[in-house]
Amino acid sequence: MSTRDILISTYGLTKKFDSFTAVNGVDLDIYEGEVLGLLGPNGAGKTTLISMLTTILPPDGGSATVCGYDLTKESSKVKQMVSLVPQDLALYLTLTAEENLSFFANLYGLKGREKRSRIKEVLKIAQLEDWANRKVGAYSGGMKRRLNLAVGLLNRPKVLFLDEPTVGVDPQSRNHIFDSIQYLVEEFQMTVIYTTHYMEEAQELCDRVAIYDKGKILDLEETDTLLQKYGEKQLVLDFKSIPDWLVQHISSLPYVDSHHVIDNKLTIHSSNLLGVTENVLSWIRTNQIPVESFNVHESDLESVFLKLTGKKLRD
């Protein structure tokens, strides 16, 4: 990875809103052609970080280069190189897809045949050719998301920022967005920065993942490395109901490193999965506690996040 060209470098990048520090001295290198996941909960500062890298917000401290251009001094050149697919649907609902694309293409300075062919190209990527002349207001949520992505591809950016692009999207459109990203990386060697709070998406799509919370990158590694470094296998017990005393007893058993409860599922993290499984099952059998099911799970980015921040992604 490190042999590839660095497209984005940040040094102590900082953004404050009054007394609140949204981005707190971020140092980051992003390589050409990689898909970098920025994984963090809502309010972690992910959108503020990419707002600075796409020149929407000026940094209050630190510096950054994007495709070799200084972020603040050469922002107009940076704008030519990057594109943002925002979390909000930046579309005009009373215009057709083609009219929307034509508007944004004009602002990118595209003209004539080049403009027409670029619009056709992105409509094809978004699989919206048949809907090109329909008003966007009539589209489904997933189709709007795809058009939102298509707008972001009009200038054939070297760096594509995708800010939570799958929020409110049906599984079919989500898969289409994933396929499109993979196509763009393979076909155009596009660099993609993908913010999400869905760990499954980061795990499936990203080459490297930055665990991001409270305006800071806690760690940045390839996904597998992160899982090896911080991941713990988990024992998941499903109860009909789960009173507090039961959780307290089980969490005090030997080899239980940490635990969390979602609905009636108790997830136990341990570095000694065999030991903890023996202890927990033995205690349950002795006390005749009814269990619906139990499973052993592989470690995932959720557990990595939990380990690094002490809280769950959706907290």
């Binding site: 929407i56 917000l57 030519q80 909000d88 649907l89 930046a90 944004f104 602002l107 990118y108």
Partner: protein, 413 residues
């Protein structure tokens, strides 16, 4: 109980909606207050507004003096019997009254021979010179004069009819010497006299229009500019909501990532608002002209300049609103408050000169006053391009100031 919870929740939401509260309470209070102050001198008993009216008294008889006394008792009139020239007070003359009517809108002339005609039972006439560009002040004068005339005429008619009836009766009695009297012919005579006098009352007023260029203005000439300015402002200020909507739904944020400057984005927004406001204004004037025979004045260039400068100032105001309001609903509430208050104060709904002097001064901080004033100069008073350079210049200046502040103040996030 559920009903109460639902009502309580709705009221909680309402009282947290500041723009909604502004629209619900502050806007009507402000508009009613402005309207009441403005029209206090016309409809109310308030002595705040008096119309200065030149009065030419050419007759020195008793009836003329009585007429003057009656006019003096009218609170709404500030009668001017003298005028100042070369530092000297001069008696009001017909020529001077003609000249003053351009500003004062009406003048009263009591001609020579008025008293003699009244006492002799002949027809006496009071003349009212009116400026055809105004309907309010000449209307007030006509009402006052006709009310007095009506009283005077009734008294004279009664006097004449009674006298002649008695004379006729005495003559009849003398001829017939104690014979049984049949009053029918006398009653018929009295009725005939009354008919004769009421058909042709002994005192009347006649109005004379001040000579002006072109045809006399119609109500459309008065109303179209005022209401056009108001609706152009309403239309333009809605552009503020559209801009804030773009901020709320994220399209402005997306535009910020494109290779265009922030100024280009705002100026583009401004341009669409300006074009819309100009077209709206043009359409309203075209409909007034083609559909209702409205007069377009003597200077089409001047009219176009006023339309452009009004649209520019309105656009500037809308951008200013967008810069200071945080949400769409806030912009919507504040714009309605501003537009209605400015329309009431600035002469969209009635002529500015009927407002008290202090209000007329305040009114000129609004763009409405400059705009309606400029349009009235062109369409109603028949003035030309040179005469509207000041209002047009002020409007363009206001637009530029508003835009400069808006561009500095506007936040894309």
């Amino acid at each position: 109980m559920s009903m109460w919870h639902i009502a309580k929740k709705d009221l909680q939401i309402l009282f947290r909606d500041i723009p909604g509260l502004i629209y619900l309470f502050l806007t009507p209070i402000l508009v009613i207050a402005v309207a009441s102050f403005a029209l206090g001198g016309v409809f109310g008993s308030s002595p705040t507004k008096k119309f200065e009216i030149p009065v030419v008294v050419e007759d020195s008889g008793q009836a003329a003096k009585d007429m003057v006394e009656a006019l003096k008792k009218v609170e709404a009139l500030d009668l001017k019997f003298m005028y100042e020239e070369n530092g000297k007070e001069q008696q009001m003359t017909r020529d001077k009254a003609d000249e003053l009517v351009r500003d004062k809108k009406a003048a009263i002339i009591i001609p020579k021979g008025f008293s003699e005609a009244v006492t002799g039972g002949k027809e006496a006439t009071i003349q009212i010179i009116q400026n055809p560009t105004d309907q309010v002040i000449p209307g007030v004068i006509k009402n006052v004069v006709s009310e007095y005339i009506s009283k005077l005429s009734t008294a004279i008619v009664a006097n004449q009819v009674g006298t002649q009836a008695v004379q006729s009766f005495a003559s009849t009695v003398g001829q017939q010497h104690n014979l049984k009297l049949d009053p029918t012919p006398e009653i018929s005579k009295i009725q005939e006299y009354i008919k004769q006098y009421t058909a042709k009352p002994p005192i009347k007023y006649e109005t004379k229009n001040l000579e002006s260029k072109g045809s006399a203005p119609t109500t459309f000439d008065y109303n179209v500019p005022g209401y056009a300015v108001m609706f152009v402002l309403l239309g333009a200020t809605s552009a503020a909501s559209v801009l804030l909507e773009e901020r709320e739904n994220g399209t402005l944020r997306k535009l910020k990532t494109l290779p265009i400057s922030s100024h280009s984005i705002l100026l583009g927004k401004m341009l669409s608002s300006f074009i819309t406001a100009s077209i709206q204004c043009l359409v309203l004037f075209a409909v007034g002209y083609l559909g209702f025979g409205m007069n377009l004045g003597g200077s089409i260039l001047g009219l176009l300049l006023m339309i452009v400068s009004t649209a520019f100032a309105a656009t500037g105001l809308s951008m200013l609103l967008a810069a200071f309001c945080k949400t769409r609903s806030q912009a919507s509430g504040v714009s309605i408050l501003l537009v209605l208050a400015m329309s009431a104060l600035g002469g969209s709904w009635w002529p500015l000169y009927i407002e008290p002097v202090w209000m007329q001064k305040i009114a000129h901080i609004t763009l409405t006053a400059w705009s309606t004033g400029g349009f009235s100069d062109l369409l109603v008073y028949g003035k030309g391009l040179v005469d509207i350079l000041l209002p047009a210049g002020v409007l363009l200046g206001m637009g530029l100031l508003f835009l400069t502040i808006a561009i500095r103040r506007f936040r894309f996030e």
